[in-house]
Symmetry: C2
Subunit: 390 residues, 2 copies
């Protein structure tokens, strides 16, 4: 028996473990200091009440013989797919319920989608970006090339005449840079994919943070996307579902390669390696897309966006940054040419602020730092004050 | 862009779709006939009340700022891993909480475990068996060989001097045959794996149905298993969790290959392609393993076992069968040399009983039929009566 040799090619991402270890060591040495944790990529909650009530009611329903539900559809219940379709309609994108595949979170599908593709396909992945895209493809033994995201292109790289790819990962608004593509930018990628036959894997996990009406919230707002793009989304950041686990992937009916509809292949993959999402969770997700649920969810998003604006305002006085609007992330250039870890240490030891070194998200992240807006208002105001002291 | 060429080598399993189509056609033509559905592999529910209450309480907890939980551990919460470890202790198997990895159902891991192994490893898979093992390995492009399960070996094949394998799937009590290995049988497989370096993937999904104290309910009741076996289990059949989605996979600390602990590799895989199980679901699972939850769950298992005994009693008067005890399945030889589909049609049209043709589970399933005990007592008694009429 031989283990998968590709484990050796995965980057051991010690980022968050090292941040945690340094933070713990500092706190142990300085027990009286109040640390402000601005590195967290998780929501603060709580769940919207409409979601809580729907999940509790669905649990009770399962406790009655006549309300019990066993195995559900691999692709998710119709009631939830219809709610997601209606949400898309409100965004200005036409997505049929039959094109929607419910999952236990966008991360699972971001990795599992690889099962659709030949292992020789070339993946083009932005740098810096959420590390899961690279690691999942490395584990599958698929070749990976990087798409440079830098201050020069506003961290929003576009295809050029030299660009070669079979599969392109895009994440907008981006984790970690907060940069969001406009229509023209997405149109360039859609045109590239339709011209070359590449497939776009579009991660819209942070779409709920877009407030600028000029920025698309779904790639399907761009003409031509339905013949080249798979969109991944999640309730994690919209409705504080990080611990509840529910997302969805869209395979447009018109997305075909090699004579086959990718959505049909995906259903075969799911039927073999997945058994649907928990029924009470799907009822909770349905409630999140309801009128009351969405209103409650949007309150939390608004709160995080205000946090982001406060942090961005303080940072803008002494450093360049990206994001800070249409995103819960602020991606800042480390002052005075400092490296990611050097500035991380400075903020930890001199300001008692915990951030995330940009170098953890790829080579181009070196020299940058990610701050997140998921903390309490009190902590954010205090962090802005400490940063402002210079 | 090329799609994964291995989709072409997966067997298009039309089994359940064809059963459903034939059943619907018969019912449409004979609307007054009452069909008895004995082909269903899903539990009838309801969920144990202890589970319902725990899930509702956990949902409400998530709706309060101070009770909210975001991303949980990839491997599952400690409270659930400890409850599973205690359940193992009651079975007579020592499994440390740190060896347990919680998942969203055994089916996901039965497929995903392939990520651990080189794609050239030879998989040995029983025939007949749950079709997911074959399809998941075909999708990964891994070579598959079959292990003949027949009346001659009681549908419990053992390794012989010629047996070659890197990975061996075992399912006991078996789906679809209901046959369960005794200690000697499992010991033979454990000894084979320890001698050759193969890894056993032991699917214990139906362990809760074992009542015979001479039959092991976990492979870890057999000496030597902790250096060669991964065990998959689920709450689906124990506690009616088919629609709630929670299972677990055990990687013993002593299970190492190529100098690496497989559990550590699995955690890296899960960190890349999975984000943990829903918190309310994990609280529900914890409650299922509690005193009250287990008592409620065992009532349902006892009811299904009584159903199985009633069906087996009726079938035994005119045909050979396996299972019917220590399992919710009865695997019967079709009378008078009929083929699987031929006898299926006979039962549907002459007895108004819906079963599952054995041919759907592999080549060796031809000539057999699977009946399940998950129906209501009323339906089971009626089916026994109709079968008894000859």
């Amino acid at each position: 028996m031989k283990i998968n040799p590709n484990f050796a090619s995965m980057e051991r991402n010690y980022l968050f473990a090292e941040v945690a270890a340094k933070t713990a060591a500092y706190q142990a040495a300085h027990p009286d200091q109040r640390l402000l944790r601005m590195g967290i990529g998780d929501v603060a909650g709580p769940l919207p009440q409409a979601v809580v009530e729907a999940m509790a009611a669905a649990s009770r329903e399962m406790g009655r013989k006549e309300g019990f539900r066993g195995y559900g559809p691999y692709e998710g219940y119709g009631f939830l797919r219809e709610a997601i379709s209606a949400y898309y309609a409100d965004l200005g994108a036409q997505v049929d319920p039959a094109e929607i595949y419910v999952n236990d979170g966008a991360k699972s599908d971001a990795g599992n989608l690889g099962d659709l593709f030949d292992r020789d396909n070339l993946c083009l992945i932005p740098d810096p970006v959420y590390p899961v895209y690279v690691d999942a493809n490395r584990l599958a033994g698929r070749p990976v090339a990087f798409l440079d995201a830098t201050p020069e292109n506003g961290f929003l790289p576009l295809p050029g005449p030299e660009t070669r790819a079979d599969i392109v990962y895009l994440c907008s608004p981006n984790n970690p840079t907060g940069a969001a593509y406009d229509r023209q930018g997405l149109q360039a990628w859609v045109d590239f994919a339709n011209r070359t036959g590449a497939v776009l894997l579009y991660d819209a996990a942070y779409e709920a943070f877009i407030t600028d009406p000029g920025l698309p919230r779904s790639i399907y707002q761009v003409p031509g996307a339905k013949s080249c793009a798979i969109e991944l989304c999640t309730l994690s950041k919209l409705a504080s579902f990080t611990g509840v686990r529910c997302g969805y992937t869209v395979f447009p009916k018109g997305l075909r390669r090699g004579g086959q509809a990718l959505g049909e292949l995906w259903l075969r993959r799911q039927a073999t390696k997945f058994n649907g999402v928990s029924y009470p969770v799907q009822r909770g997700a349905e409630a999140a897309f309801g009128k009351e649920g969405l209103a409650q969810a949007r309150q939390a998003v608004k709160y995080y966006l205000e946090n982001a604006a406060i942090l961005a305002g303080a940072i803008g006085k002494f450093a360049r940054y990206w994001g800070g609007k249409n995103s819960p992330y602020i991606w800042m250039e480390c002052p005075k040419g400092m490296g990611s870890w050097e500035y991380f240490d400075f903020l930890l030891c001199e300001k008692q602020i915990v951030a995330t070194p940009g170098a953890g998200f790829g080579r181009n992240g070196e020299g940058f730092l990610r701050l997140t807006a998921f903390g309490s208002r009190e902590d954010v105001l205090e962090a802005a004050e400490r940063l402002g002291r210079g």
